[in-house]
Subunit: 144 residues, 2 copies
Amino acid sequence: MADTKIRVTAKSENKTKTVVQTKAFTMILDEPKALGGTNDGANPLEYLLAALSGCLNVVSHMVAKEMAFELRGLEIELEGDLNPAKYMGISDAERTGFKEIRARIKPDADADAVTLERWLKTVESRCPVDDNVVNSTPVKITLA
Amino acid sequence: MADTKIRVTAKSENKTKTVVQTKAFTMILDEPKALGGTNDGANPLEYLLAALSGCLNVVSHMVAKEMAFELRGLEIELEGDLNPAKYMGISDAERTGFKEIRARIKPDADADAVTLERWLKTVESRCPVDDNVVNSTPVKITLA
């Protein structure tokens, strides 16, 4: 199976606001005024959690269909903890990103607990965004 | 310095569309019609690249200020390659997420090449989303 390439372009509109273009959509990221931002969009870490939730939703439905049960709906609560010290240049003692992410999935489905646990394990193993967060992924950043 | 918690809630609107709520914003993720989606938003992998770009923008400005040069603007081209086979349940031979992400940053700044290279290294080391992708991060997914 051939690789797929995903591509976006981003433009800084000010020191906190980023406007991202895909082929079909525009995404706006920003920081709240309390953090010196212009508050025109969700922040990058909320985008990361959103990416994970959207991925889990798509794979959840795909795997439920394969396992032949109906998934009528899905709600996910996601949270992560981080320490802002390294990000702010105050200390390198802790990592700068999320130390842990927790996702609590509430499926609306006619399936027993054993089936749902097996479903969840499969979803987790096949979700691309989950893979990119759980496992190390090279990011090559260069100057244009 | 105390930890910060970032939290969002996500609701599946259909098998590809996810609506994510933060305290202040709504994000919509979807898949294009060609992939069986309802095409109401960018896809989860585009959200992941957007998260990285927004994070790089904020940290870029912060570090430029610390290094005392003016960063007037910034453009970033981001792309990643993945193989859809594991995601689709066809083969486990390759990982499901991005194998690699490339970000090409074009700063508009009065700074020499050596300064910009030092700036880029610092930005990279302090960007939370970059850290979460480059390094392993535990994701605990549970059933509600």
